[in-house]
């Protein structure tokens, strides 16, 4: 609509003259008429006065063409579908705070491996739809892991156990209570002598309190803890080094040099998110800051941490001890017998020198699979290097009764076999599947008269027990836990248990008191009330539940001193490196120890380095494969200590020569429909003595082959001219900060036939910057995107065909020698090109550009020609080749994000920069009559990223973070030479190599 021109002032003198000069009768309605002003003329001309809109150019080109359309007859084809009548009812009583369409956020916490991570769960109309990190929680800082993101799918999993089961038949809570009464009657006289509890690692103060009360009532009862991904070696290492059990905490943000002896501290450590943040904060380099930490990793199989190493050495897990010894020897440990250092002579002096140069600013740590002696040596090294109290400090353990879990489980097994156990409670963890195979816990359980398994699934343990009690998901129950640093985290439910699950608190509580039944809320609340922490309980309790975390409860630093004699003693006999092939067991990077086996998001999430989905594999080094004439997808039989399993081979560059890696958690027998028939059970080789590592593995090639589904099969950039992934060394950056920009000639923006100012993007101008130096490749962004954008799971067959649906993917490239390459991770979402090749070729305008520079995908207009994907040089578009979205499973319906369309068959989809979040922020900002603030919108990937590698924002906002990052010298556009002008740009990767170590000596 046109804006009317400003009205000229009415010339009264002229009107007077005109009226006087007029002859005959003349009526005039207004002064405007008389003066024949422009407005009056316009009003006469137009049917409606100013304000009504109209087509002001007669017949426009568009409408002319429309009228002239030759296919007028086709209008009949736009048939009308009668929409079904559906009635909606408003609330009679509106729940407080609940505004339909507005999300609510609740702080709670998720426990994995016993340790809590703060969670902020999003609830829409009463059902949780997304889980993110709680920014106020020290173990999360707002970031999340793949397991947190995927836990929402577990909540709605239709295969979760839904009923009490007694001896294979459906039972009820009432029956269970009478069983408990029976139990109490039996056990009270003998003070609980036949009563045993087996739990996963417990950090929950309430649960610990309940157990303590139980043990008071039944002094002969025992509580055992077992986690199949146990931290026993770490505990024992600390015991060796300090004579007492302490927990080691690291401050990676203060470390300049980090040496990891097979510790995947960025991915499997309980404090992974915090450590990732601290570690990557120490690596970020900008125009003014050119300091970054340096990471050395010695490991047997490539891990997330290993891929971040500046220098990485692939070495058998069993040989890593000799590295630790050699370093200790060089620092004057005086080990007897002395360590052989000659094989590491190339780089060891340089490494030791680097460590010494950074006294008090280095960290040495070892992984949970390394024997206690290595951990003890690390403690000594940290002490020797002056790190203790600076980058490394010690605290009490956050666990309840920390113990050697493997020994604890062995004791339980022995007691069961001796017949001493009458009643066994098992809380989660599926020990019948995950315990060492030689314990044969499944068979042992049959000897227990009354075994009660409290778990979320009807799994192997449930099948072996007489009772199964469905356990509530953490989003359905009250509880608490401690994070790795001891901070107390509270857990609150967002929804009533979907399948009538009970929490461990309720079940333990029911042993004490049944009338009236105390629910988990009362148990947890009463525990904290009894703690008498707060003067005003009600106020502070509310505060704590609101925050999800009780502030300032981290464990205090503890002074301990290293006892070298004990270490020397432990190291007195040098272990001979066992001959032959070694096997190492690792938790699966996605489904962990098997507890997430029924989670489709995690099954389909490409494993960080191998990009494998839906399977585990026998991971071999290229050398070993060549020696045994094996190729990926060949099937081999593995034999260790007389036990045999078979599985498909996957050749993994960067794997230590004689090490075979097996990921646990697969080959589950009693599992829901997703995890059934997937992978092989590596646990069948895992005995107590080879819990993490075994040697003397025999490998026989079998006939036939298997097909593994990996999302990426080419890890080589293929051509040095293909400047897709750009990287350099810190030294290069210091010499010339602009060096990345010089790696390739990009066409200058002015060299074009077209009008470069055609689109100015004067309002918001969205953009993203991804820091390749920080990205650790942990997949959190991918899972967050899945959850936010209702991305379907397609299954193994479809992944194998190349039809996975992630909107953001992590590309991993290898560089350098096959046996120990450098790894590079590159998250690739839609680039939101300003000159988007996809838009040009869409015949129906289903992908168009908006005025803020977003490349939009309009699902209901898409006819599915797929030309856009063909013309996308980044291949970030995803197509619904079949009905991928699950419209049928009723339990998934409340899980979908109501702000995002669930896509149907035959349409293209892709990353939208989380446009629903942009819209929400825009509405809020417009209501408040302001611009959207920088940082107000976080894309889902950005929000989840523990490394802060992804930054999204408005490029036009002065001082916005993303604009600042894009002005960094390291900024580059992927395939910028195609003149696509991507809005997503990258900060090139910098490595911080030790100049003393030559390339090839230690990669």
């Amino acid at each position: 609509m046109k804006t009317p021109p400003p009205a000229p002032p009415i010339d009264l003198a002229a009107i007077r003259a005109r009226l006087e000069g007029a002859r005959g009768q003349q009526y005039w309605r207004s002064l405007d008429e008389i003066s024949e002003t422009a407005e009056f003329q316009e009003m006469l001309h137009r049917e409606f006065p100013n304000g009504a809109s109209e087509w002001d150019d007669g017949v426009s080109r568009r409408s002319f063409l429309k009228m002239a359309a030759a296919s007028l007859a086709l209008a009949g084809l736009t048939a009308c579908t009668k929409q079904p009548v559906r009635k909606i009812l408003p609330y009679v009583k509106q729940p407080e705070e609940l505004v339909p369409g507005e999300p609510l956020f609740y702080a709670t916490s998720m426990l994995l491996g016993g340790y809590a991570t703060g969670v902020l769960a999003t609830s829409r109309e009463g059902h949780p739809i997304k889980v993110d990190g709680n920014p106020e929680h020290p173990a999360s800082l707002g970031a999340s892991s793949i397991w947190m993101q995927a836990s929402i799918l577990d909540l709605y999993d239709p295969d979760r156990s839904q009923a009490f089961v007694h001896n294979g038949e459906i039972s009820s809570w009432a029956d269970f209570i009478s069983e408990l009464n029976q139990l109490v009657r039996e056990e009270e006289p003998r003070r609980g002598a036949g009563l045993r509890f087996l739990t996963e690692t417990v950090t929950s103060p309430t649960l610990a309190g309940q157990f303590e009360a139980l043990l008071k009532k039944f002094p002969q009862a025992k509580v055992h803890q077992f986690d199949s991904i146990s931290r026993d070696n770490i505990r024992e290492g600390a015991r060796q080094a300090f004579g007492e059990l302490v927990e080691t905490q690291y401050r990676f943000d203060k470390a300049a040099v980090i040496l990891s002896l097979e510790s995947d501290f960025l991915y499997t450590h309980p404090n992974r998110l915090r450590y990732t943040r601290d570690f990557t904060d120490g690596r970020r380099v900008s125009a003014g800051k050119s300091e970054m930490n340096r990471l050395y990793v010695v490991e047997s199989t490539p891990t997330v941490t290993g891929t971040m190493a500046d220098h990485r050495l692939a070495l058998g897990s069993g040989e890593i001890e000799s590295v630790a010894r050699a370093i200790a020897q060089q620092l004057g440990a005086g080990l007897n017998p002395g360590a052989e250092t000659s094989q590491f002579a190339d780089w060891l002096p340089a490494l030791v020198q680097d460590l010494e140069k950074n006294r008090g600013r280095s960290v040495v740590l070892a992984g949970e699979g390394q024997p206690p002696a290595v951990h003890a040596l690390c403690h000594w090294l940290n002490d020797k290097l002056g790190n203790a109290g600076k980058t490394v400090f010690y605290t009490e353990s956050a666990e309840f009764h920390p113990s050697n879990q493997l020994e604890s489980l062995r004791e339980l097994k022995d007691e069961i076999e001796s017949g001493a156990v009458e009643t066994l409670f098992i809380f989660g963890g599926n020990p019948a599947y995950s315990a060492p195979v030689d314990f044969d816990l499944g068979a042992a359980l049959a000897k227990v008269r009354r075994s009660i398994y409290v778990g979320t699934d009807l799994d192997e343990t449930a099948a072996a027990c007489t009772w199964h009690v469905p356990q509530a998901h953490y989003l359905e129950a009250w509880g608490d836990g401690k994070s790795f640093d001891g901070t107390i985290s509270l857990q609150q439910p967002l929804i009533e248990p979907l399948y009538g699950g009970k929490s461990a608190h309720e079940i333990l509580g029911a042993i004490f008191q049944q009338q009236p039944m105390r629910d988990d809320y009362e148990v947890v609340r009463e525990h904290w009330q009894a703690e008498k922490k707060w003067p005003d309980f009600e106020k502070d309790w509310r505060r704590a539940v609101h925050d999800g975390v009780i502030a300032n409860t981290a464990l205090p630093e503890k002074q301990v001193s290293v006892k070298m004699e004990a270490i020397t003693e432990a190291l007195a006999t040098e272990k001979k490196n066992a001959e032959g092939i070694e096997v190492v067991f690792r938790p699966d990077p996605s489904i962990w120890d098997g507890r997430f086996a029924n989670n489709g998001w995690l099954q389909e999430c490409a494993r960080p380095v191998s990009k494998l989905t839906w399977d585990n594999a026998v991971i071999l080094s290229p050398v070993l494969a060549q020696r045994n004439q094996l190729a990926t997808n060949d099937v081999v039989e593995l034999e260790l200590n007389g036990r045999k399993i078979r599985g498909p081979v996957l050749i993994q560059p960067g794997q230590a020569e004689n090490t075979v890696t097996l990921h646990l958690g697969y080959g589950r027998e009693r599992v829901g429909r997703v995890g059934r028939g997937v992978g092989f059970n590596a646990g069948l080789l895992r005995e107590a003595k080879s819990f993490w590592r075994g040697s003397g593995l025999k490998m026989t090639k079998l006939a036939g082959s298997y097909s593994l589904a990996a999302t990426q099969t080419h890890h080589n950039l293929h051509n040095p001219e293909r400047q897709i992934y750009r990287e350099g060394d810190l030294g290069q950056f210091r010499d010339d900060p602009q060096f990345i920009k010089k790696t390739i000639e990009s066409p200058p923006k002015e060299q074009t036939l077209y009008n470069t100012d055609e689109f100015k993007y004067e309002g918001y101008k969205w953009g993203m910057s991804i820091d390749l130096t920080s990205c650790i490749g942990c997949n959190a962004c991918l899972l967050a995107c899945n959850a936010e954008n209702n991305i379907p799971v397609v299954g193994k067959e479809q992944v194998r065909k190349g039809r996975e649906m992630y909107w953001i993917r992590i590309d991993t490239y290898y560089k350098g020698p096959l046996d120990n390459p450098e790894f590079s991770h590159m998250p690739v979402p839609c680039m939101q090109c300003e000159h988007a090749p996809c838009e040009l070729v869409c015949p129906v305008e289903a992908t168009v550009h908006d005025h803020e520079g977003l490349n939009l995908q309009i699902y209901n207009r898409c006819v599915g020609t797929r030309f856009c994907s063909n013309n996308c040089p980044y291949k970030v578009r995803r197509f619904n080749f079949l009905w991928y979205a699950d419209y049928k499973t009723p339990s998934f319906k409340p899980m979908y994000n109501p702000d995002v369309t669930v896509r149907w068959r035959g349409v293209m989809e892709k990353c939208t920069y989380c446009i629903q979040r942009i819209s929400r922020a825009r509405i809020t900002a417009e209501k408040e009559n302001r611009r959207i603030r920088d940082g107000e919108i976080q894309s889902a990937c950005q929000q989840a990223c523990p490394a802060n590698a992804i930054v999204f924002g408005d490029l036009n906002a002065p001082g916005s973070k993303v604009a600042a990052l894009k002005s960094q010298p390291l900024d580059y556009s992927m395939l910028g030479e195609l003149n696509t002008r991507p809005r997503t740009t990258y900060l090139a990767k910098l490595r911080n190599r030790n100049p003393e170590i030559k390339e090839g000596q230690m990669m």
Binding site: T78, I724, V841, R861, F867, F881, W883, G906
Partner: protein, 471 residues
């Protein structure tokens, strides 16, 4: 053998069953003993008397079975989605587009023969133009299926058409797929009119010769009241020439536009200025090969050697060889440009095409498309119908593989190596390919059964011209 007057001296060759020119080339455009009456009888007799029913029924049954298979596969495709094919990301186009381009290419011979050769006064086209035009129509029908079927949501195909929709939404005119819609539909309509205009007088002939009532009525409707008056002929000839002139640019434009589906994209292996002429040459190449493949058996079975002479076959073989070299030039230039441009992506594409995972396909293509057709340099091959049949078959297969290589191989290894994937066709890909051949042959069989497959009037004209010594 009677002496024939003509512009070229010709003589009988004792070794050859046909008269030859002084240079030894086959000389006859139309059999020497062919007369006006014989032409009418022979050609109109096929739809009326249905000779060789066994051949027809067996052939038709096979073709129709394949067509039914196509119907089944298409039903399943619409029910299940394009995911039943082997396509993926990055290879989002597979057999469907390959088939589309292949069929469209085949559909080029008809109009080329009818229109361009008409304007160029190539009289040897007279006895084959009807057949090739029909083939064109059927090929374009087959081709037209694929852009529809390959859509993710084929039921909303009409969104590609400019129709007045309530949202005032239009197709996106910058997209080559829209140009395709116009180019292919225009081509189909003009070809249909051109063909129908030509067939009208002959339908009248059949009507006049028909013995049964229903045949008279149906052919009567088809001939639209043609009486063969001089006015009719005058208008007919004018319209025919005009349509010929209209169809001529279409021969060049359609496949140029189809090539834009690829060359407008920026994908290495697609983004090339060479594509329009290269595609047109390839189209005519495969079209001629298909004509040879169809005509050679029909000519033998229905005894049409006197109408479709060795000279005609020889001429077609020559065009095939010429277009073969144009296509080969295209291959050479593609490789040269990839090297000359220095573009790493182009260079990789070319290397991958020849030596990558699909390398073997490329060498099969080279053998079928470039090497085997060199046999056409030999006059003996050109004039030997069975040999010619197999060379043409090789070119047809080769051209299909060429489309496959362009579509699939270019896509499977593009810019970002992490996304590279292989395409493996599924059984549905194959069923739909062979099913479309079934549809094509079904229509072809119905055509030879019910419509005069050679232009009676034009053949008679040829006889007249021969008599007047104009040949």
């Amino acid at each position: 053998m009677e002496t024939i007057q003509g512009s070229e001296p010709r003589m009988p060759d004792p070794d050859k069953p046909y008269p030859v020119t002084v240079l030894g080339y086959p000389a006859e455009m139309i059999g020497p003993t062919t007369t006006y009456e014989k032409v009418s009888e022979q050609i109109a007799g096929i739809p009326l008397k249905h000779p060789h029913p066994r051949f027809w029924f067996i052939g038709f049954t096979i073709a129709f079975s394949l067509f039914l298979m196509l119907c089944g596969a298409v039903s399943y495709l619409v029910y299940k989605g394009v995911g039943i094919w082997g396509i993926n990301i990055p290879v989002a186009w597979g057999f469907a587009i390959t088939n589309f381009v292949w069929w469209i290419g085949i559909g080029h011979a008809g109009t080329f023969i009818s229109a361009i050769l008409l304007l160029l006064h190539q009289k040897w086209r007279t006895t084959i133009n009807r057949f090739t035009e029909a083939m064109t129509l059927f090929a374009v029908m087959c081709a037209g299926l694929f852009p529809l079927l390959h859509l993710g949501r084929p039921w909303v195909f009409f969104w590609l058409l400019p129709y007045p929709d309530t949202m005032a939404l239009w197709p996106q005119f910058r997209s080559p797929l829209i140009w395709d819609v116009f180019a292919v539909s225009t081509y189909f309509l003009v070809s249909l009119m051109f063909w129908y205009l030509g067939v009208m007088p002959d339908l009248a002939t059949v009507r006049d010769k028909a013995k049964t009532k229903w045949k008279k009525i149906i052919y009567g409707i088809g001939s639209m009241g043609w009486r063969g008056s001089a006015v009719h002929w005058q208008r007919h000839q004018t319209a025919y020439l005009l349509l010929g002139g209209l169809a001529t640019p279409l021969v060049l434009s359609v496949h140029s536009v189809v090539s834009f589906d690829f060359s407008v994209a920026q994908l290495p292996g697609w983004h090339s200025t060479l594509f329009p002429p290269y595609f047109v040459a390839g189209a005519i190449y495969s079209g001629f090969a298909m004509v040879l493949n169809l005509l050679i058996p029909i000519r033998r079975i229905y005894g049409l050697q006197n109408l479709i002479t060795v000279r005609t076959l020889n001429n077609m073989a020559c065009v095939t060889l010429a277009t073969c070299w144009m296509v080969c030039y295209g291959y050479i230039m593609e490789a040269f440009m990839a090297w000359y441009s220095g573009d790493p992506f182009e260079k990789h594409m070319m290397w991958d095409r020849a030596f990558g995972q699909y390398g073997w396909v490329f060498w099969v293509l080279m053998t079928f498309n470039c090497i085997i057709p060199q046999l056409l340099w030999s006059r003996r091959v050109r004039t030997h119908d069975i040999a010619l049949f197999f060379v043409a078959l090789s070119a047809n297969i080769g051209m299909w593989i060429e489309r496959f290589v362009i579509v699939v191989q270019s896509l499977h290894n593009d810019f970002v190596p992490s996304s590279w994937k292989m395409f493996y066709p599924t059984k549905w890909d194959w069923i739909i390919l062979f099913g479309s051949i079934g549809l094509f042959l079904t229509l072809q069989f119905l055509f030879i059964r019910y419509v005069p497959m050679i232009s009676i009037s034009e053949s008679r004209e040829l006889i007249a011209q021969r008599k007047e010594g104009q040949l």
